[in-house]
Symmetry: D2
Subunit: 137 residues, 4 copies
């Protein structure tokens, strides 16, 4: 299983009046890392829609917030594909400070479904997509 | 000219680590008020697209931030249509604290273009839409 | 156990290019409902910090996204306190369409810790706060 | 005058149901570029607050949206300091596609005030800060 790690800088937009990163901001960071994991495998959202008629949609998530990130922090956001079966991908993810092996600030699981882009029905992950992703699993 | 005023509560999501409402949040508030102004006239974004094939798109804005809003503030966000000519609406807007006549925190102008929804070319505002909006102008 | 239900309108800011509400937006909606639950019990974030020296901080969440919400939807976001023990509140939450008993779009659990505002250490929920909240439990 | 250009990738979080980047997202991008311009000069928000007791706060902006950015776009966001007088910085900014000389999607001006961090009163830009920034002006 190959992990993808995306560096993410914390800006004012990500923080809140408690002086730390706002909880929903982590879900934006986690999604950015899943998108870059896909892009590293040569796959973009637009291409999925146009060529295969599918969208990837978050259908479930479990996250623990261990320690707060703050303004100006340099974070490293990991996405590792743990499973790809039927219509569903399961990613293991975490957010660390300063380096990819740094202190864990947040960690969890993201379940992503493969959907028909127009009708939003689950659809089995296409074999061609699994092949492209095989080196990342 | 009839003004529409939308009450908006400030939540953690709207604030930043400087302890005040983050600047981009005001643009979300101003857009909510323009959308509710439209809805008050019986018009929703989805209907514009489906029945008339148009989207309303922000093409320019000028804003002054006078005083900061903070967490838990009850804001009142105004949208008044100042002009509707050709393909363009001009709104005068402000954000006030506690009441629609309260202290001005932020004020400015929003220029919104009428676009063909699929090709994103400017399109003259349909007469039928101007008629529906006439009591709001 | 008394549930609090907050009506939330879906604006452009909440949606994404897949044509539905973006996943992180639900976490903003769920937090708004917890904040209004608190406010309904007479408690605001600023007062907690100033009078009791505490902040309430999301430390864990599990959410299932069942069906997509779309632009212009009128949502109803529920927060019910399921537990309040030690330094931790557990809320059961869901997001429904059109009415408080409408179709469930999203549901889950939020764990919120009572923290010392300045040092961000967990702190036992003050008795005075539990008393104020007792009719909501 | 030296310009700073920050590459910014467009993610789902930045887009809306009209299929393009949501207007408020540009203000987040423009602020990120101003922050990185400061950081390139060796200055971080936290240091300004702790060492000099000041915050930099957006007090006015004028923006024209020329063409839409879409999902997966690689943007280049420019911040150039045009003026620094009294308590005020004026930045010229734009957002271009694909390269720092690419097609202009959005352009405008940002006025940023130097404020006392605790009392939010305007304060003359400290000489020491102007010195540090001199090579960027």
């Amino acid at each position: 299983m190959t992990a993808f790690v995306l560096p993410v800088r914390v800006y004012l937009e990500d923080t809140d009046a408690q002086g730390v990163v706002y909880n929903a901001s982590y879900f934006r960071f986690l999604e950015r890392a899943r998108t870059e994991w896909l892009r590293a495998a040569g796959i973009e959202h637009n291409r999925l829609r146009e060529e295969l008629g599918i969208s990837l949609v978050l259908v479930g998530t479990q996250v623990k917030f261990r320690r707060p990130a703050i303004l100006d922090d340099q974070l490293h956001v990991r996405a590792s594909l743990a499973k790809a079966t039927g219509a569903r991908f399961v990613f293991e993810q975490d957010v660390r400070r300063d380096s990819p092996e740094g202190l864990v600030l947040c960690e969890g699981i993201a379940e992503v479904a493969c959907m028909e882009a127009t009708r939003r029905k689950p659809r089995r992950i296409p074999e061609s997509l699994l092949d492209e992703l095989s080196e990342w699993m």
